[in-house]
Amino acid sequence: MTYQAVLKAGRDVIHRYGGNPLIAIEDLAFRCSDIWNAGVVRFRGEYLLLLTVETLEGLGSIFLARGTDGYHFSVESKPFMTGSHHGLFAQYESFGICDPRVSEIDGTYYIAYVAYSENGKRIGLARTDDFQSVERMTFVSEPDTKSGALFASKIGGRYAMLQRPWAGGSIWVSYSDDLVYWGSSTVVITPRSGYWDSTRVGAAGPPIEIAQGWLLIYYGEKDTTAGPLVRLGAAILDREDPSCVIARSNIPILAPREKYERIGDVANVVFSCGALLESNGEVKIYYGASDSCICLGTGMLDDIIQVCNESRKEY
């Protein structure tokens, strides 16, 4: 559909999969409080989801779900990662871990996640080669920082990562030679007064490399008298300098409309930790709906790019 036709139809650019939700609490072999969101990665021919599952106690944990077609998934019965009890990590993960975002670099899969404790929230980085064992590397931010997403290739010879510090509610980019010491941080995307993303923004999944640069699916919050409304938008970042925003959608590409997006533990939220670009140009966005189930939305890359570019025109 053209962008204008989409607007006329009153529908979002991202189309909901007919079988949504993909995963709800009823699909789990274990008891839990709820399922919040999913990161995604292709691994050895399979689609792997990394789910944030809230335990009954209220702690965030990460479970794996596997599938072969990208639509049907089987959730493992044991967690892949839970708040650490060892060493320095234990102190900062005492309230759990959430929001895993996966990036593959040179055959290693890096998982950036949010660690919660009484000392605030900060981004942890772990790595795995096989999704059997996982090794925590280090924390890559001070608190309060969330939505850490590693670029899948180096920029200017350095690792690059998007982060969302609490102060200012903006998406920042930081660089590192070794994934341990980070610097040269600068702002990328800020909230916009008067828009759908007026209160705060954050990276959804890690940026996806496209011909035009980096496609960033991001979430934007707008505070209302009844609480926040969280929607997804898109932006295109310059390949060599991701702090340079080439285009940014003025409208959300996905907003809560269906019942399962309006009603749940945290109402009116669509929140993603990962998307995939398929070889046919389709973007699959795996998102959490109202922090209560995992859903899939798809759109053609060209339509998403057009929405970003169209935003620059008067109409």
Binding site: G120, G168, W172, V180, Y181, S184
Partner: protein, 306 residues
């Protein structure tokens, strides 16, 4: 416990020859015989900048007739300093003088780092934190070849003192929590490093600020804490009560009343420590104590000793 100099404040508005709003939070260094104070001056717009003052005894100073460092007017630092540069803290490492300060802009405040060899030209090195972090103080020594600083991010709205490390002063990591506010104490609401850590026989002495909230606003006081010499992430002693509280009129009354805020210290050869502090965010004062007293204050177990 710190003894105020009887002729405090040492520098205030009247001592500055150009128009400004206030002078406070100066950081000292001794070069040969001369004492230098790098002052924070708040301009009338409300944006701060730096100016030097010079003296021979550490108590009497002459303020330069023009600022030495203004918010960057060009280049990559400009946007981050558009609303001012604040709270400089000087640390000497290997003969070079580093200034860790706060850069303020529409994006919030961040820690910035500059360096000078002669106090005439100042070279900006990098913005060294994300937004929402300040009170950065650099250790005067490296640990196994790695630089270290104390800083003050906010976690769950609580301002605690953290430590961060860097191989090159530009890229920072391995951050850990070191010291928290203490519920129901004088430093229950928020704390932050104030003076670059001072090496003593028993560890790194950190003179810090702490505040508690009252019905009419915060009271800022000065405290002491001791960090392990080899593992500065580990706190090994902490004062029970503050070593200085606002009492004098010039500490109670000013732009922000009820504030004593240490901004630097010098240890003299005879062990006397001159602690320079901002009073009510309006003037600069000095108070003294012997280094041994400050060290001991970190290890007292009782307030009242018979």
């Amino acid at each position: 416990m710190l003894h105020r100099w009887e002729r405090n404040p040492i520098i205030s508005l009247e001592d500055v020859s150009y128009k400004c709003n206030t002078v406070f939070n100066g950081t000292p260094v001794k070069l040969g015989d001369e004492y230098l104070l790098l002052l924070r001056v708040e301009g009338q717009r409300g944006h701060s900048f730096f100016c030097l003052a010079r003296g021979k005894d550490g108590f009497h100073f002459q303020v330069d007739d023009r600022p030495c460092m203004l918010p960057a007017e060009e280049g990559r630092f400009k946007v981050w300093e558009e609303n001012g540069i604040e709270d400089p803290r000087l640390t000497e490492i290997d003969g070079r003088y580093y200034i860790m300060y706060t850069a303020v802009s529409r994006y919030g405040y961040r820690i910035a780092l500059a360096r000078t060899d002669d106090f005439e030209t100042f070279e900006r090195l990098a913005l060294v934190s994300g937004p929402g972090n300040k009170d950065g103080v650099l250790f005067p020594e490296k640990f196994n070849g790695i630089y270290a600083r104390l800083d003050r991010p906010l976690g769950n709205n609580v301002g605690s003192i953290w430590i961060s490390y860097s191989p090159d002063l530009v890229n920072w990591g391995h951050s850990e929590l070191v010291i928290c506010p203490r519920p129901r104490y004088w430093d229950s609401f928020r704390i932050g490093a104030s003076v670059p850590p001072i090496r003593t026989g028993r560890g790194w002495l950190e003179i810090y600020h702490g505040l508690k909230m009252t019905a009419t606003g915060p009271i800022y006081r000065i405290g002491t804490v001791m960090l392990d010499l080899h593992n500065p992430a580990k706190m090994i002693g902490r004062c029970l009560g503050p070593v200085l509280s606002p009492r004098e009129e010039y500490e109670r009354i000013g732009d922000i009343g009820n504030v004593v805020f240490a901004s630097g210290a010098l240890v003299e050869p005879d062990g006397e420590v001159k602690v320079y502090y901002g009073a009510a965010d309006t003037s600069i004062c000095v108070a003294t104590a012997h280094i041994d007293e400050l060290v001991e204050s970190c290890f007292l177990t009782h307030e009242f000793v018979e």
